[in-house]
């Protein structure tokens, strides 16, 4: 735990380079790209939903599968046999 505390990096304060200018190698910093083009790309005001649904839709699909696994796990562990007991 002391390691985690000492591991606190001095990386500038919240408004550091990530938000403002382009990233170093010139690729558009994706945080800003989303703000500028979210509405243009998907005509949806809520940027977070656009990222969730469109730009990074595999993440959301993975999320849905995570919940599906959790549901199946409860079925697996706590259900004795499907047919006979009810």
């Amino acid at each position: 735990m002391i390691y985690a505390a000492s591991g606190l990096p001095y990386r500038g304060d919240p408004d550091n380079r990530m938000h403002h200018e382009e990233s170093i190698t010139g690729t558009p910093v994706i945080g800003n790209y989303f703000i500028q083009n979210a509405y243009r790309d998907a005509a949806t005001p809520n940027m977070v939903t656009v990222i969730l649904g469109d730009y990074r839709s595999i993440d959301t699909f993975g999320e849905q599968i995570v919940i599906f696994t959790a549901g199946l796990i409860t079925l697996l562990i706590l259900r004795r046999t499907k047919r006979r007991e009810d």
């Binding site: 985690a4 606190l8 304060d13 945080g31 989303f34 977070v48 993440d59 993975g62």
Partner: protein, 123 residues
């Protein structure tokens, strides 16, 4: 120096939450308390992600409304960490669900949730 502290206060809280979570996991005997410690531990990472998305000055929320121009980037929060945290929270909930299922299975077999007793019973 003040700027240094002012810029980093959010990260101290993440570390404090992490310490609480780890304490819960390591030193608590009852298994349910361990799971709660785990949940706190995950919450600390969520706090960290959300804190890096903020910007100085008056910042509108991540939903675009028509009077604030979208082109000027510093008007809006950075939406990406918030999206990532939706996923991390969902994953945390799923893990908690599975943890409690396992706890019920353990309880049904051993009638106790205290780790020390469990280890003795298993010997």
């Amino acid at each position: 120096m003040v700027d240094f502290f002012l810029g980093h206060y959010a990260y101290w809280f993440t570390i404090i939450l992490m310490c609480v979570g780890l304490y819960g996991i390591l030193f608590k005997k009852n298994l349910i308390k361990k799971t709660i410690g785990l949940a706190i531990f995950q919450a600390s990472v969520v706090l960290y992600f959300v804190s890096i998305a903020s910007k100085w000055g008056d910042v509108a929320v991540t939903v675009k409304d028509y009077n604030i121009p979208v082109e000027d980037v510093s008007n809006y929060l950075n939406p990406l960490p918030h999206t990532l945290m939706l996923t991390a929270i969902v994953v945390g909930v799923a893990t908690l669900g599975v943890a409690f299922t396992l706890l019920i299975a353990i309880y049904n077999r051993y009638e106790t949730l205290d780790e020390q007793e469990l280890i003795d019973k298993m010997k």
